[in-house]
Amino acid sequence: MNRQELQTIITAETAINIYNKYKHKLCVCCGAGCISSGAEDVLKKLEEEIKTRGLENEVEVIATGCMGPCNQGPLIKYLPDHTIYQKVDCSNIKAIVQSQLIEKKPIEDLLLFADSRPKPFIDAREDPYFKKQMKIALKDCGHINPEKIEDYLANDGYQAFDKVLFQMSPEDVIAEIKQSRLRGRGGAGYPTGLKWETVYKYVSKQKYVICNGDEGDPGAFMDRSVLEGNPHRVLEGMCIAAYAVGANKGYVYIRGEYPLAIKRIELAIKQAKKLGLLGTNILGTDFSFDVEVRIGAGAFVCGEETALIASIEGKRGTPKPRPPFPAESGLWGKPTLINNVETFASIVPVINNGGEWYSEIGTPKSAGTKIFALAGKINYSGLIEVPMGTTLREIVFDIGGGIQGGGEFKAAQTGGPSGGCIPAEHLDVKMDYESLISLGSIMGSGGLIVMDKSSDMVDVARYFMEFCMDESCGKCVPCRVGTKMMHDLLQKICNDKGTTIDLERLEELAVYVKECSLCGLGASAPNPLLSTLRHFRNEYENRITE
């Protein structure tokens, strides 16, 4: 297919017409959270009900990706009004169809947050939960059908790729990404433009682009939701990256625990190939790019880039010392670009709206938006996307609706097993890379676990240490033995048998493991311990016997 034929598909004939064919849309959230609370039954029942009433030519029922407020699910969103119904079960379906579609008035009792807000909003976008958010990476997530490329095309899909192919040189693309000041969303926050430029500069006939979807932090589900909700966005980001760095082969590495994400990205690849958006001589140009999916077998360490590369090569997933970095010698020794799912999902808006536009969102050093997975003792847990620099207080209280049962906030854990705990006195910290590091935590991939007074911080540290101990690959001594020793010492303190000497040993080991480990897993494993020691030292000391 050439460029003109694609334009025809997008504009005149199929995509937009199909997308706008229906006056009403009922979107049923089929993110993993809603599915586990029964969304699939709701979807089936809703489709039956629409058929029984003979509305199938007026109303489209769409199974969408995640809408956000996961613990209020299953969710149904009515478009064009953006009315969201929460905690829907099969017995509500008849009433919703009758009232929303026939009588044209929403059911107040079923509206989103109807049970916790004095007056719920008919247009959910007015609710503070959504008002404080800014959806860029998740823009189309929750109202397009992730299994139909036409839906994506009708929402400006692959326009950025088209622009890049026909109007920009690889240098232009890299300059645009650099100008956006986008930083890697996988955790470390390395400037994306710089990474692309490094790979671009290495001369090689064969280069690779890898999308890291091995999201392994307990409590994190950002990448899964992006892949499930809008797989084409990630794919388009990869295509743009491949064009910029000069790669002709890509891999999406997804953990095996995400079957729905795997299914959807595989389908997306198939659809894109069919339209000639992947393959040889894409849209008649001399650019060729192909993508394959690789499935991880459930090792946390395979999220580390060199271990991930080893895993794609079919080897044991263990990291290698860097340098050499993958940009120089990555997959099968070739220059390789690895970015996280969320990073790739942020590329398209940067190209469409320009780097300058993106760089003005967020804070000067951390531009753009970040997706967080809110979990723990919070009223509205789920998936949110906020501009960088939003304070923790805004996230926990304005968006998250405060602590469950009116309890008191104690700490927020960010960055999963590589991150740390932020205590109540730092509730006004701006959520950006530097501010979190200065508090001994990290942004990480975006897991955010809120804890109330019932949480024991020593036990929190012990839990994360146990996770790292189990997930250590066992290659280097500090991580293999050090995490085991630290875990045992923490367990001893949890059992009220710890001594001041144990605490000293623990602190010494923490610094040793942090500085000596081979890869990021070991180097960040002591973070939860060090940050709880820093902010909640009294809890350790109270449990120690002389």
Partner: protein
């Protein structure tokens, strides 16, 4: 080979470009402790004993895997590095069941030598005492997991020099074990050629020939290095 200027432990040196920091140090008589390194085999940077400080780089890098670069200022003997080497050594001893007095490698063991070099007088961490098997199924050799430090020198020598790929690593974290084939007894291995290279590559008393008793073990890892270098010359 072009020469570059570097500074190691305050000494200014003109050295060959393209070599690793470890190679350069050894050539210039600067001692660097290692356990997983065996000259000629691919370096993996696993034991973390050879970590060095490099000016301008905010983390410690393993000398065996880092290529030397012009104007590098390297420190190999700082207080911090010595402290970390001591901890690594103690963790080796605490991890498995290293009882020198009844070990075939007593007096000939690299781990034992490491203990002397780091002047270890006691171990501050609790011994883990894991349950480890001893595989005596092979006709000539023994694999004793109690003494294994997971340096993977046997894995690499078997794959890279002998080409048999008998050895591999199973499990993860502190449950890692060296395995023969797909975790079959060594004596039943379909790939082992009984060449004995792993016996000489092993730095401790983990792999040894049956014909000897306590303290008699002679290992010649330099033989492997020589073999690799001679093969390169033939090519």
């Amino acid at each position: 080979m072009p020469k570059i200027a570097v500074t190691i432990d305050d000494k200014k040196l003109d050295v060959d470009a393209g070599k690793t920091i470890l190679e350069i140090c050894r050539e210039n008589g600067i001692e660097i402790l290692t356990m997983c390194h065996l000259k000629g085999l691919t370096d993996v940077g696993a034991c973390r004993l050879c970590l060095v400080e490099i000016e301008g780089i905010n983390k410690l890098l393993s000398a065996c895997t880092t290529k030397i670069a012009a104007n590098m200022v390297i420190k190999t003997q700082t207080e911090k590095i010595k402290r970390y080497q001591n901890i690594t050594c103690e963790l080796f001893y605490a991890e498995r069941n290293h009882v020198c007095s009844v070990c075939v490698a007593n007096g000939k063991c690299d781990l034992q030598k490491l203990g002397y070099k780091t002047e270890m007088d006691h171990i501050r961490y609790p011994y883990l005492f894991p349950q480890c098997n001893v595989d005596t199924s092979h006709a000539w050799y023994v694999l004793d997991h109690n003494r294994c430090i997971m340096c993977t020198r046997c894995v690499r020598v078997c794959a890279e020099v002998e080409g048999a790929h008998n050895w591999n690593v199973m499990n993860r974290g502190n449950k890692v074990r060296i395995i023969s084939d797909f975790d079959t007894p060594w004596g039943e291995s379909e790939t082992c050629t009984s060449c004995g290279k792993c016996v000489h590559a092993c730095p401790t008393g983990a792999i040894w020939p049956k014909a000897i008793v306590q303290g008699q073990l002679e290992k010649k890892p330099e033989m492997i290095t020589e073999l690799i270098e001679k093969r390169k010359m033939n090519l």
